[in-house]
Each structure stands twice: as C-alpha cells, then as structure tokens.
Point group: C2
Chain length 596, copies 2
C-alpha cells in the first residue's frame, strides 16, 4: 500500500513524505486508522489507565513529590509519544527505576519537599529529554551499548530491591530515608518500634492482597469459568480494587485521625505550563545523572518495544524511539512532571489487551486527564501505605536473582561486573553503582582481549591445512615458526604479540622465519601496526624474516596505507600453505610424499 | 652451560635457583662475568656517565629541585637495576617526560622550592616504585596496554615540546612557569623584554653548538678520518664540552655578577637515607599521578629494552622489568631522588658503546658518585642556560610530528585520540592529557567494534562456499537469510545484531529461517548471549527458525553452559553448507546441477 501511493505521487513529494513519516510515525499508522482499530485501542487504554493511575501516584510519592505530579507525568508525555513513537504497543509513563534515579539526582540539588526540589526534578526531566533527542538525531544509540547486559540487569535488580525496601516506610507508617540501601536500612531499623498499627494493617493487608492478585487471581478467575485472556486482564486491575477498598476503609473508620498517612488534597484540573529554574550550577550537577537516566530508561524501553514488535513482525526504529522518548520527557518537564519511559509491565498489558497503535497511549492520557479532573476528591483518603504496597509488588517483577546464577555459570568476568554494580548501588547509590559497573565491564572486556589465543600451527601431512601443534599431529620446520592469531590486533593486545614473539625467538635459536597467520584478524589499529613494525624491525636485527598470511581484504587495504608492507622483511601470502611451501618447498614435498 | 649445571645439582636446589635467577637476574649473568665483559662495560659506563651528569643536573632543575638531587637519582637506582634488571643494555636514570610529570604532580601538593615540595617528589618516587613492584609481582603489565600507541606517542611529543619551550626561560634568563604549554607561554611572553643578554648569549650559543654536535659532529669527525663508531660516541659527549666551556667562561669573565644564573653550591658527598613525609592527604593526591608516571615510564623503558635485546637475540622479562624499575624508584626515593626509568638516548649509547651486562649501569653509578664527591666544586659556575640548552636538544629526539601524519593516513580514530592527547596536554596539563587520551581511545575502540561487518551470504553455485551477496554471484533461498558476522559478539555490538535481524525480518516477509554464520566470532559474552536469546525468542514469535553455523570450539563450549542451545528453535551446524542443505535439500541439489 505504502509503496504504491509513493509511486503515484511525484518524486519530491514522495521523499518529503518519507522523511515526514520517519519523524512523525503517526502519519504512517494514522492514515489507515479504522473504527475497528479504535475500539481495540480504547479497550487497551481503559485497562492501562486503571493500572497507571495508582502507579503514577505511587511513583510521585517515591520521587518525593505531591501525588498530582505523577498524574501530570502520565498525560502530555503519552500524547507526544503517540505522535512520535514507532512502537505500536509501548506504554509510556512513570516507571520505578527512572523515578528512583530522579530522586537520587534531585536530592543532590535540594531538600525533598522544597520548591527547589520540584524545580530540580523538572530540570532533570528536561535535560534527559534533550539528551535523548540529540542522541536520536545524531544516531548515537550505540552509547546505550556501553551499558552491558550484566550491568543493566544487576542495576535493575539492585534498584528494585532498594525501591521495595524503601516502601516499607510508608507501608508500616515509619520514617526512613536514604540514597542507598545501606543508609535506608540504618535509618529505618531504629524506627521499627514506632510502627503505626493501623497503617501497618492496611499496608500488610494490601501487600498480601496484591501479591495474591499477582499470583493467584488469574488461576482463581479461570477456576470459576472466566476465559484465560479476560482473567489475565482482570488480574491487572486488581490494584485498583485495593485502592478503592482501603480508601473507603480509611474514610469509613476515620483512620486518618489515628495516624494513617493519606494522600490528602490533590489539586483538580490539568497541569499548567512550567519552566525549570535557570541556575548554571544546577545544570552541571544534573548533567551526568540525566545522561544515566536517559540511557537506562532508553535501554529498558527499547527492549520491551523490540520484544512486542517481534510478536507481530512490526518494525521499531531505535533512533526514532530515542527522539520520541526525548520529546515525551521534554513534554513531561514543561507540564510539571518527572522523567518517563516505556514501562515493562504496562506495555505487556497494553499489548495483551489488544492495543494496535500508539493511539492507545493517547487514550490512556485522556483517561488519566479525566480522572485528574473528576476523581481526585475521591482520592483524599487514599492511604499512602497502599501505594507503598503497589510499588513493592510492581518492582518484584524487576528482581532477577536467577540472572546472577546464570551469569556466574556463563562468564565469571560478567558476573564480577554484575556483582560490583549491585554492591556499589546498594552501598554508594545508583550513580556510583552504574558508573562503576560500566567502567568495570569495559576494563574486563579490554583485559579479556589483552591475552588473545595465539596458536603455534603446523601442516597436517598430505593436506594444505594448518592446525594447532598441541592438538594435532602436524609437520613443522624448526626454521619456520607459524603462529595463528585468533583475535583482532589492537591496543589492548598489541604488546602481548610482541612478548610472545620475543619469547619464542629467545627460546628457539634455530628460527629463521616467522609467519603470522591472520584469518581471524578483523582489524589492525595503529598500536598493533606499531607493534608489527617493532616486531619486524627486531626480527630483522636478529636475522629472522617476518611473513604474514591469510590477511583479510579490508585489513590489507589499510596496511597498504602504511610503510609496514615496504619495510616487511618477508612477504604477505594468500594462504598459510603458500607461505610455507614458498619458504621451504622441500617440506611441502615431504608431506605430500608422507601421504602417498 | 646453564642447563648442564642445573642437571648436575639436585632437583630442589635447581628450582630454587630458577626462582632466584628470575628475581635476581644478576645471578644469571654474574656467574659468567669475565674480564673481557668488564672492560666492555667499563668503557660504555664512562661514556654514559659523561652524558648523564649534565642531564641529571638539568632534569633536577626541570623538576624544580637543587642540582644534587639529579645526581642522587643517578646512583642508587642504577645499582639496584644492575641487580634486578633483565635488560643487558638499558641505561636507567632521570628522563625528561617522567621529570615533567613529577613536577606537575608535586606542584599540586606544595610550592616549588619548599621542603614540602621535595617531600612530595620523594613520596611520588616511592609510590611510583611500589606500584611498579606490585604490578610486576601480580603480572599486571597489561595495564600498560590501556595506553594505546597513538596516545603515548602523542603524549611524548606534546610533553617534549612543552619541556623544550619551558627551557627557553633559563636559556634566555627570563622568568616563566606553568603547568601546561598555554600557561607557560602566557607567563613567558611578557618577560621577553627582560632578557639577560649574557645569559641569552651563553644559552643560544650552547644551543647552536649542541645542535651542531647532534647533527654535524659525527660527519665532521668522520671527515677528519675518525672511524664511524668512535665518531658516533665522541658526538655523544659533546654536551660535556659545552658544560666545561661555558663554566669556564662564566668563571673567567665573572658573568655570575652580570645576572647569569649559575648552579652554585652543590653539597659534596653521597646522598643520605631519606624518608617521605607521612600525610594521608599527600598520598591520595599523588596516587593517580604516580600511577601515570609508572605506566608512562614503564612503556618508554620496555620498548627501548625490547628493541636493544632483539639486536642480540636476548630475552627481556616484562614483569621482572617492572619489578626492577620499581625497586630502582624506591631506591631513588630513599636516597632523596626523583622517579627514574630506562632512558631512550642513553640506553642506545650504552648499547653502541659495547655494554654487555647491567654491570655497566653500576659502573655508571660509581662514575656519578665519584663526580659528586670530587667534581661538584667545579660545577659552581655552571650556567643554568647551558642546562636548558642540554634539555632542549635532548627532548628534540622525542618530538615525532611525522607520527601525526602517519596516523592520520592509517586511522582517523587513532589520529583523533592522538590529537586530543596533545591538545589536552598543552591546554590542561599532563595528567588531563593522558587521561582524556586513554578514555577517548577506549571509547573509539568500543565505537568501532559497535558496528561490526555483517554480510548477507549466499552459496557459490556448484561449491560448498558461501560469500557476500553484494560481491559474488550466489544462489539464495528467499526463505533463508544467511548472515555472516565478522567480529566477536560482545556488549559493544550485541544490540547492533538485534537491530540488523529485526530490520531484515520486517523488510522480508518471506523469511522462515535465519542462519548466523560465526567463523570469526572468537567470543560471545553475556550481553551478546542475552541478545541471541532475545533474537531467538522474537524470531520464534514471528514464526522464524534461528540457526547457527561454524561456531568455534571454545565459543560452543561456553554456549553449552547456558540455556540458549536448549531454547534455540533451530540447530547449530558445523558448516554453512550443511546448514543450508539440511534446511533446503533442493537448493543444494539445484546448485549442484547448475554446475554440471
């Protein structure tokens, strides 16, 4: 359909349309929007709204902001993502990990509860959005690669456990606060004696109920004859039941007077246009945290988007996703909210409930707006304890202890990066945890490539194949040392090759020729070139000729741009066999005879 | 000889000897030390001493310390290196770049000229030495690999130009000081009006003479009938002539009274045992600078040692070299000196002059000690200008502008790292320059591997070979997508593979099978494993089977430790041909017919 219509229009209009469609995906799916799609999207949006409203209030509480800010972050960003997003099912809005990171960053600027604190959160949201937009426009999505999987996985587990722990404060009605798990525990434990029993009763009952909803409601509903899909969706709206029930209980029994913390007055109506404060010092403080929020948020979001898109063989454009999430964050900032991203659980629900297009997100925004306009008075008696329980159950799905075990078995280096990320997050906070994890994973990666596999090879008699001398019965010539390098040559391993050749030559006085077989060398950087030149130079001084074989095309092209090939004492051979037979024709002859 | 004697002794004694010989190489070469070797070493040591004495005074001045400290750094360290060093020709002692770095680090702790400043220098020397010893014992020489060749080469050029520029202050008798080239120039230029003409005359004349000695003396001596080798060595002692001539001139014409800065009183006698000050804050400040000094010093030194060893097919042990240089630095610290390392120019002279063993270094130390005991009164009138000229000519050999050009042609990424190192060194100082260079080269390395070459391959008719579809005439099946990855799969490129497969599937609705051909995949880390699992999972949702082919042994061994192979919808084939013929036997048949 698309191809046909672009062929019909003129070339200029067509390429303009392609560009417009790339940056405004709404033009793409909007053109074929039907009544049928509308009803699918609408149903999905109702279910997601019912999930989102309590979560958004809870995340606002977690960031340390008034409840309505969570609702604000669930309107404008969703509308903007519907225009710019390429995922058909991603549910954008406040999420747990980004909220934790935002709170940690804003606390460095101002005290929770102050006007400056809200200003800092808005500024973080704005900077996060602008960074994402820049990264998207300049196609810098590769920056997300620096966050290796063990680091992001460990970080999310650590953050989720820390978030869950922090919510025991509202859940039990005690005080407790800290930028990392250690501070949090040391601040909460002494207050355990001052638990408010009414709060704790509401909190623990909600927690038990929500946990049962999560695990037991779906089988229960199926047991009483409800179809699987409907049972699944009804289980997702369980938290709303807890919200309504506990609010009525607090109101009916007057529990607010008995020390149960309630949400209280939420201003009715839609958010107003806001601008972050202009203080140069603020911006420099939040730059790195915002960069981390934008990368972590993007990685969480794109992975959900890709997984859901694959189920219907749809396409997600990673760079446009960055732009769309960035615009959503900017939208959140100017409507007084905090950073948003694609949420794992809500996106899955949105998809399962039948969302066909990003319009479902826009309808969700409308649902949240209607609730903000008309339902907020009803939330006056909503106890904070049930919000805490909501968060605890929501983050449970993010904890992946098994990943630690799997990684341990697969790679000790990756496990080390993962464990360091978790420990540093708990002891020093989210930013240090992430930065240490990234630095350590890069370090371990470079370390692992710094000692590449280099095999001494010999000829398998009667063939033109060369194999590791320690694993095969092969023929070698004491005057020829053939080494196969199983790794690209670059700065982390350049000197290692020098050492290996140096030691081999010192140990074998008979060597007259060294052949470096390079079938797995995908690149040779300037450091490795320098090492090869040094090796060639030193071997020449020792009366040894240096040859290469099986050099790949692109590597050879680049070598031709240096002086190395001119200075090389030996030759570059197409194959290892050609190299050996050219240097010692007799050996090739012998091995042929050995076979016959 | 060695083998025979160890066979004769008992097993236990023999292995102890091997360990002793590893850590005390003097036991190795000392056992066969002859009168002939002694005379070779002695001649070399005399020539190196004549080079070293003015240089050590000059480097002490550069570090901002009294002249005798340079002499102290040229005694104990050389004796210790003779015991522990594995290079037969390395000349250890003060060098230009390490001296510059030491001055930069010590200035952060105390003002030049204060007692605290000398204390800081001694502490830096001690920490540098201890770090080297630790790195040597724990075989952490790979840390030096992080300093890629473009970074170290750019850094040395930048440092040499900065050192050379700084010496125009003593050379012209003006004031000028700065931690980077920018500060240095802005502090020197306004003082150009206050040049001391006598100083400038001595300085510029010395500079012209030394420059001529460097370039023209050898041909001149050869022209008057002196043999090449002798001419070469005589040219190296040229600076001593300048020292003697200018000292006599200053003394004879009373130039010290006319504002020519002189070295003045140098305390006679040998250094005394010293200990660095014990201040915790000092140690944390100098830790990173000391680490940089130890790595830069080691890299400079090992490269000279390896090059010289290769000329005589001798062995240098990189880890033992770290230990030896570390012990030398500790020795320098406790005898009141500053960090030392293997010097490029003096080592080459030592080698050319016939040094056979590290004993030559010990004799050089004795030479310096004798000079310190008996000749220092003669150096009273030595003008600082001639020391400045000595430094300028010495660092000229370190400037390698051509390297910039070579690197530009070979690799733009490496050039960027090199240029950034140079600029940041000049603008922000040596530490920032090095750290930015290292960070940038790691970043660019990861970036370059983040987009690996992935080719769509097809079967060459009538063969079992598969080649890139864009370069060869090949047969493909619209239902089978064969992708060859020409790089290891790890976190920098894991998501790129996901994107490529995602896009291919979205663009080709016919695809039923994807085969990933992995002949150049040397490793698959946890991030890439996660990506492969996600790809397999998503393809499964889209009804596509995912296969692998030509997976290397070690990679396969590791995959077996994960759940991936169990979850894989397709199979792992030994060869790409086997994969395609197993999935579509008809295609293999057709291509066979096409040939016949």
């Amino acid at each position: 359909m698309k191809e046909k219509s672009s062929q019909e229009t003129q070339q200029g209009t067509s390429s303009l349309l392609i560009i417009l469609r790339r940056y405004f995906p709404i033009l793409d799916w909007g053109a074929s929007y039907s009544r049928r799609t509308f009803s699918s999207d609408l149903i999905a949006s109702v279910i997601v709204s019912i999930m989102l409203i309590p979560q958004s209030l809870a995340y606002a509480m977690m960031v340390g902001l008034p409840a309505q800010v969570g609702l604000y972050a669930s309107m404008v960003p969703l509308l903007l993502y519907a225009v710019f997003g390429t995922s058909r099912a991603l549910a954008v809005g406040p999420v747990a990990v980004a909220s934790l990171m935002t709170a940690a960053a804003a606390t460095q600027v101002a005290a929770q509860g102050s006007a400056e604190y809200l200003g800092a959160v808005i500024a973080i949201s704005l900077v996060t959005g602008l960074l994402l937009i820049l990264m998207g426009i300049f196609r810098m999505g590769f920056l997300a690669n620096f966050l290796s999987h063990p680091v992001i996985s460990g970080f999310i587990t650590a953050a989720a456990i820390q978030i869950g722990t922090s919510q025991f404060a509202p859940l039990l009605g005690i005080r407790g606060h800290g930028e990392n798990l250690l501070d949090l525990l040391t601040s909460m434990v002494p207050n355990l004696a001052s638990i408010n029993l009414y709060t704790a009763a509401i909190g623990l009952a909600s927690l038990a109920f929500l946990y049962w909803v999560r695990l037991g409601l779906k089988p229960f509903l199926q047991g009483i004859g409800i179809g699987e899909r409907l049972a699944d969706l009804l289980a997702k709206v369980g938290p709303a039941i807890a919200i309504v029930a506990t609010t009525i209980a607090v109101w009916g029994f007057g529990l607010a007077d008995r020390g149960v913390a309630i949400v209280g007055l939420i201003p009715e109506g839609l958010p107003r246009f806001s601008l972050p404060p202009v203080q140069p010092s603020l911006w420099t403080t939040i730059l790195v945290p915002s960069l981390l929020i934008c990368i972590v948020g993007y990685v969480e979001s794109i992975s959900v988007a890709l997984t859901l898109a694959a189920k219907r063989r749809q396409r997600v454009d990673p760079n446009q996703e960055m732009i769309a999430l960035g615009i959503s964050d900017v939208g959140s900032a100017i409507s007084g909210g905090f950073p948003v991203t694609g949420a794992l659980s809500r996106s899955v629900v949105n998809f399962d409930a039948g969302a066909q297009t990003p319009a479902a997100g826009a309808y969700t925004a409308v649902g949240v707006a209607l609730a903000t306009m008309f339902l907020t008075p009803l939330l006056f008696f909503l106890p904070k304890a049930v919000l805490g329980a909501t968060i605890i159950v929501a983050v449970l799905s993010l904890v992946d202890i098994n990943a630690l075990k799997r990684t341990w078995f697969y790679s000790k280096a990756d496990f080390a990066a993962m464990a360091a990320t978790i420990l540093m997050t708990w002891v020093e906070g989210v930013e240090v945890g992430l930065v240490v994890g990234v630095a350590l994973s890069i370090f371990l990666h470079l370390y692992s490539t710094s000692r590449p596999h280099i095999a001494v090879v010999g000829q398998i008699p009667g063939t033109s194949h060369f194999r590791n001398v320690t694993r095969h019965t092969v023929v070698t010539d004491p005057e020829i040392l053939s080494l196969r390098v199983d790794e690209s040559l670059y700065f982390p391993n350049a000197r290692f090759l020098e050492d290996i050749i140096n030691d081999s030559v010192a140990a074998n006085p008979d060597i007259r020729h060294i052949i470096l077989e390079c079938p797995a060398v995908n690149t040779i950087d300037s450091s490795a070139l320098e090492s090869l030149e040094a090796i060639n130079h030193r071997l020449k001084d020792g009366g040894i000729t240096f040859h290469l074989s099986e050099v790949k095309g692109p590597v050879m092209d680049r070598l031709k741009r240096s002086h190395f090939l001119k200075e090389l004492t030996g030759k570059v051979y197409l194959t290892q066999y050609e190299a050996v037979s050219s240097i010692n024709p007799e050996l090739a002859q012998q091995t042929r005879e050995a076979k016959s």
